[in-house]
């Protein structure tokens, strides 16, 4: 089922996963279905941010400050990644 987040959604990692940061990248393993994900450095930074409840807007602001990317483009990329992670039960709404 497709998961949608809006700019104010508070998001946090699910308990049904284990993850590890390795050399600035990250790997996540779903404990529900055994599917694993590799995240590049930007994905790994987002993963770091969602360890505590955070909104999409807050993630965008942190990344804008750290990477030289247009806000609109950044918002789409963040949303795509988060929706993929949510579809596999790796993150969830914090509410």
């Amino acid at each position: 089922m497709a998961v949608r987040f809006d700019i104010g959604s508070r998001i946090v990692v699910s308990k049904d996963q284990v993850s590890s940061e390795l050399g600035g990248e990250a790997v996540i393993l779903s404990l529900i279905n055994g599917v694993y994900y590799g995240l590049d450095p930007v994905g790994a930074r987002i993963w770091q941010l969602v360890q505590e409840p955070v909104t999409l807007e807050q993630i965008r602001d942190v990344l804008r400050a750290e990477y030289n990317v247009e806000a609109a483009e950044l918002r789409v990329d963040i949303r795509e990644l988060l929706e993929q992670l949510a579809e596999h039960g790796l993150i969830e709404n914090a509410e």
Binding site: L22, G23, L29
Partner: protein
């Protein structure tokens, strides 16, 4: 009559004689292998909802009492106890007894190992200058053929198809598997100088099961030096050069998890352990990806390329340095 063995670093006691030398280790068996009757198996598997493996080669079921039932139609069946301490077997046909032993020490034992908290890897490994090189790859990707070409150059096989790594005192020790290799007849002739020896793995495969003597198999552990992940034949062009790249730790962790020998047991505790052990290995042992054309004549060149990658100056003598 019970026979005692040590394989993958595990003390194994068996009612069926295996095709290698007995070793009577100190202590209780960690796995007991027991023959059972048709009646025993029909009762045990009565409620089994069999799931075909992705290869369609065998079926398995995890029973309500946590036992695991495995069945190769027309060949044999196994039942593994919930704690992995006992494996029962029963022959379903007149196929080679050696074939039963191969699947007993392969797929069936892998369930027992995982149930005992161990993590077998889908890998063949050879010993080069006292350290283990492990080749990771899916079935049919050429792990055993690559191992054979190293044996040709004087290395000894450590294990074929299933690898267990033990972690002790900060070191990763690759454990020895049974002293045999499963290869196609042309590999046996060309790289092992074995003509007409061995028995067929089963009636559907051309592969031969070939016993290896002490000069070609190492029966004690070796420190693990490197993993090489073999790209599949379909991912490689016949025109391309041999390529070796070192994987990042993220890529290495994913490859090590992907190459678990047993992907059927996926309860939460097991997945956490697989992740944790793979992460430890990825952080301690280099993992490289190797792509090469699947031209049999190229295999010695691939061996040379790996030796050059390791900085061993193209020598493949297997010194007797142990772990």
């Amino acid at each position: 009559m019970r026979y005692w063995y040590e394989v993958y670093g595990i003390r194994l006691r068996s009612e069926i004689e295996l095709s290698f030398a007995e070793h009577i280790p100190a202590g209780e068996p960690e796995v007991d292998v027991l023959g059972e009757t048709e009646h025993f198996f029909r009762r045990a598997s009565r409620a089994a909802a069999l799931i075909p493996d992705t290869s369609r080669w065998y079926e398995y079921a995890i029973l309500d009492n946590a036992q695991i039932y495995l069945r190769w139609d027309g060949l044999f069946e196994f039942l593994i106890d919930g704690d992995g301490r006992r494996i029962w077997f029963h022959s379903l046909g007149a196929d080679s007894a050696e074939s039963l032993r191969v699947y007993l020490l392969g797929r069936a034992l892998s369930f027992a190992l995982v149930r005992q908290g161990l993590e077998p890897i889908h890998s063949s490994a050879v010993v080069l200058n006292g350290a283990a090189l492990a080749f990771l790859g899916e079935s049919g990707f050429g792990k055993s053929s690559l191992a054979a070409v190293f044996i040709e150059a004087g290395c000894r096989l450590l294990t074929d198809d299933q690898l267990l790594v033990s972690h002790a005192s900060g070191q990763q020790a690759a454990q020895p598997g049974p002293p045999r290799i499963k290869v196609f007849p042309w590999v046996a002739r060309r790289f092992l100088s074995l003509h007409g020896e061995g028995v067929r793995l089963n009636k559907w495969s051309e592969k031969l099961v070939l016993p290896l003597g002490d000069d070609r198999h190492q029966s004690h552990p070796a420190p693990l030096r490197a993993f090489y992940v073999l790209d599949g034949p379909s991912a490689v062009s016949n025109q391309q050069n041999i390529q070796i790249v070192t994987l990042s730790q993220r890529e290495a962790l994913v490859e090590l998890m992907r190459h678990t020998f047993n992907y059927h047991l996926s309860d939460r505790e097991r997945l956490q352990r697989l992740f944790s052990k793979s992460r430890e290995l990825a952080s301690r042992v280099p993992v490289k990806r190797i792509s090469y054309p699947r031209d049999p004549a190229m295999l010695p060149n691939i061996r040379q390329r790996i030796l050059a990658d390791l900085g061993d100056g193209g020598r493949a003598g297997s010194s007797l340095g142990g772990f």
